[in-house]
């Protein structure tokens, strides 16, 4: 894909996304509403359109939507389990924690995929992403229970990696 068409694609995606958000928030169809939305979407696209994530045409692939629909309940299950886990640790009289910062490796390469992986890690059992350096993730873990690097990677990253690869790459 040439540089020029890539830039155009980013700007168009940014414009459409902002206009859709505007229409959803206004929730009323009238030519004045649409005109104002187009005006502001054009201003914002001119400012930040070039920073919008590339390769947005992937959104149109229904298979990715299918995997995203699987990912959402899967993620919510782990999210609620994480909250119960942390809540028990908080109200337990001894506060049973064994915290520390560990380093794990991921196989994902896309920027967007890595960002979503980091967000998912932060919202799931006892882990919080502190930094990403290339393929290395530095993760604060509230309860380190194993010294084995393989097991750690499987427990922190392995849950989400296959699905996220199918959605974003």
């Amino acid at each position: 894909m040439s540089v020029k068409s890539d830039r155009f694609g980013r700007a168009a995606a940014c414009f459409v996304a902002i206009l859709a958000l505007w229409m959803l928030l206004f929730w009323r169809f009238h030519w004045s509403v649409i005109l104002t939305g187009v005006f502001f979407a054009a201003i914002i696209t001119a400012t930040i359109g070039s920073r919008f994530p590339a390769g947005i045409a992937k959104v149109l692939n229904p298979l990715r939507w299918f995997y995203a629909a699987i990912y959402l309940p899967y993620f919510l299950y782990y999210c609620i389990r994480a909250n119960l886990d942390v809540a028990v640790r908080v109200i337990h009289p001894d506060v049973p924690i064994r915290p520390g910062i560990v380093k794990v490796r991921t196989n994902l390469t896309g920027e967007l995929a890595k960002a979503f992986l980091a967000n998912s890690i932060t919202l799931t059992p006892g882990t919080l992403t502190i930094d990403i350096d290339g393929q290395d993730l530095y993760v604060h873990w509230i309860n380190i229970h194993t010294d084995d690097q393989e097991k750690r990677c499987a427990e922190i990253v392995g849950r989400f990696e296959p699905l996220l690869r199918r959605i974003f790459e």
Partner: protein, 132 residues
């Protein structure tokens, strides 16, 4: 039926909120506090928003859409904020709680980042000096 579900969601969300705030007070260092409070309060508030959205089903679709969009924004922004604060805290030199922590793999990387920042600041100062 929908209202009953919404009321239960509201109650559970409130419970998570208050547990997160208790974690903020009870746990030993910044990183643990950020963990407990971010996870619990984010999910709790997202549940409150979804409950509010369920009250809008049928009559008030504008409220439904707004509440769902707000919940999505919250779920996307809150972990990023926690990550930024923890990274900032580590680089500014706040240590892990010594009594309970067992491992720290971030020391070397943090040293590199600090050196980079110092170099950037020095470059900017240099450029300004040349300008005047």
């Amino acid at each position: 039926m929908l209202e009953t579900i919404a009321c239960w969601l509201f109650g559970i969300g409130l419970a998570f909120d208050v547990l997160g705030c208790i974690g903020l007070v009870r746990l030993p260092d910044v990183y643990n506090r950020a963990q407990a409070s971010t996870k619990c309060v984010t999910l709790g508030t997202a549940m409150l928003l979804v409950a509010t959205a369920l009250f809008g089903v049928g009559g008030n679709w504008a409220m439904f859409v707004k509440a769902i969009i707000c919940a999505l924004f919250l779920l996307l922004t809150s972990p990023v904020g926690a990550h930024a604060i923890c990274r900032g805290a580590y680089i500014s030199g706040v240590p892990l709680a010594r009594e309970v922590s067992v491992e720290d793999a971030f020391v070397d990387r943090a040293r590199t980042i600090r050196a980079e920042h110092r170099k950037q600041a020095a470059d900017i100062q240099e450029a300004e000096r040349e300008k005047t």
